[in-house]
Symmetry: C2
Subunit: 345 residues, 2 copies
Amino acid sequence: MEGMDQQTRNGRSASAAEVAALAGVSRQTVSRVVNGMPNVTEKTRKRVLAAMEELGFRPNFAGAALRGGSYRSIGLCMYNITRVGNLATLEGIMQAAREHDFAVTMIEMGGDKPYALADASRRMVERPVDGMILNMNRMAPDFEEFVPQPGVRTVILSMYAHPRCTTIDSDQYGSCELLTNYLLEHGHSNMRFVAGPENSISSRFREAGWRDTLGRAHVDAAPMLRGDWSADSGYAMGERIAAEVLAGGSQAPTAVLAANDQMALGVIAALENAGLSVPDDVSVVGIDDALEGLVPHNRLTTLRFDLRGVGKLAFEAAIGESSSIEAIHVPSTLVERSTVRDIRG
Amino acid sequence: MEGMDQQTRNGRSASAAEVAALAGVSRQTVSRVVNGMPNVTEKTRKRVLAAMEELGFRPNFAGAALRGGSYRSIGLCMYNITRVGNLATLEGIMQAAREHDFAVTMIEMGGDKPYALADASRRMVERPVDGMILNMNRMAPDFEEFVPQPGVRTVILSMYAHPRCTTIDSDQYGSCELLTNYLLEHGHSNMRFVAGPENSISSRFREAGWRDTLGRAHVDAAPMLRGDWSADSGYAMGERIAAEVLAGGSQAPTAVLAANDQMALGVIAALENAGLSVPDDVSVVGIDDALEGLVPHNRLTTLRFDLRGVGKLAFEAAIGESSSIEAIHVPSTLVERSTVRDIRG
DNA sequence: AACCAAAATGAGCACGTGAACATTTGACAA
DNA sequence: TTGTCAAATGTTCACGTGCTCATTTTGGTT
């Protein structure tokens, strides 16, 4: 049976030297076989492979890394894995890592308290990583003054540009600019905005995108409604909007821009519950395209972020040669379904 | 400025020897300071810390691991990160890792094709990990004959027991046993089961739990309906069920057990669309408790898995001292809301 | 001042590997 | 056979650390 000798040497697995001894060759020849280098006789190679099999040889990572200086791994520090958007980004990172034969070494920063980038960086750098990606959901208290670890390329997932690190994020601001213009172009000059919670950076940028776009179009923004990302909070806001619509008048909104799809769903439910039709009476758009498969007959017009693209770019920036500092905003795509009606003249 | 010397030595960061030279002490003293060992004068410690700061010293992981033999990291091989359940499990693993000051080194196995456990294990073992967790969504072709890498404790996330590895999973079978009994106890002896796709292991166990429980209660199982986890597929099945109910007769079902919440949502939508009331006409239960915050006024009675618990147990088994092989099934909790009516007597 | 235990510090080894360089082997032409 | 050259294989070194053991310094007691 293979692996029987695994415990003979203090729990460590066999070394190349032991394989060499068993195969009757030098350690360097074993190294050549392991790394698939040329100039090894087929007969020798077979003997070495047999010895490796017998001893259950596993090349010692530390030895190789110590010599070579690279770990073929990048660090990823996550603040909150649960958020769906982070998941897709993670997937993009993992996929890019796989393409480069890299592993991803992940640590999670604790609980709900905001954390300093410096803490994350310090904890990450003591791991075997060649570069690192720091995910920043809420505002880090030391964002401005943060200095990345020397010698380890550091990428921050953030809408804010950083003076010393490349930053990458979906274009949250641009997304709401796009959606707001979309509604305006369809004749909805009186719309309501349902924002996310105040402490969320995404929420802040989405709101700014909406507000600024209206400003540029010289349209007055109605008072903003605030939810907490949940469908229930969207429903509550939807009830208020329904009341406004039913009251009629020139101030009655014809469209709702919800800062995420769940709240949009809640808004729609409230409107329909009040006897209003979407989109005949009110148009509704969401953001994230998060309802696929979750809801029957999903018809919500929304906006899809290229989160996998964000992950891929982040990975590549983290292992990249270039030392230039960039602030990358990845654009999003409009997904037109059937909750917006064109009401132009 | 700190870190200015980072590139002086071929891109590698400063070594303890260089710090020692700058501080005018031996390398061993630096090591003592770094590892917080006693018997170092405060004055010396300060001098060393200053030198570390100046050179931007980062203890070389490979050197330490080479000497110490432990990486303080476990490997996690994921087949499909996107699936929501995997996410919560990942979170449980990350949290347990944080408590033990471990990192998690993750690799993703490719695309949609089923992969051999041996492949995953081989790829993982060349990384700096002290143990590994293999996530297995679909059936691995080599499950039975798989032999874990010697010297690296290997845990498989699987409902099936394995002869050589500890396995852990939520009790998919027991979950449907519980829900089926729950419906029976509420007087629903005529229920429909909406299964997930055939190639899913979870789906298979959920179906078996339902079928066996009915068998034990000597209740005939009506033909099973098959969806694909999506709300739309649930809607399609819901339409069929609605037709059965409206047709009436002794064979008309009074309850539906859907193998996940999305399909349950689809079923409910179809029933209500057909003019039926849930739960007055038909009771519906789902599995996963996945709708929280996603849907307004979530009232679905469902079953919650302790996925974080699964992750935590998996981590602990992967770093555990015990070499015993176990097959752990983590129990789930019923979440009673308001889509089931008691129709006894 | 002399001595001694304890504390602080230093020296050297070993970990397992890849690369550069040195040596041996083997094939083939003269 | 001999000489030549390339292919195959072996030797040595360096990577950065933690540990064991040896040495020096310190602070207090005789």
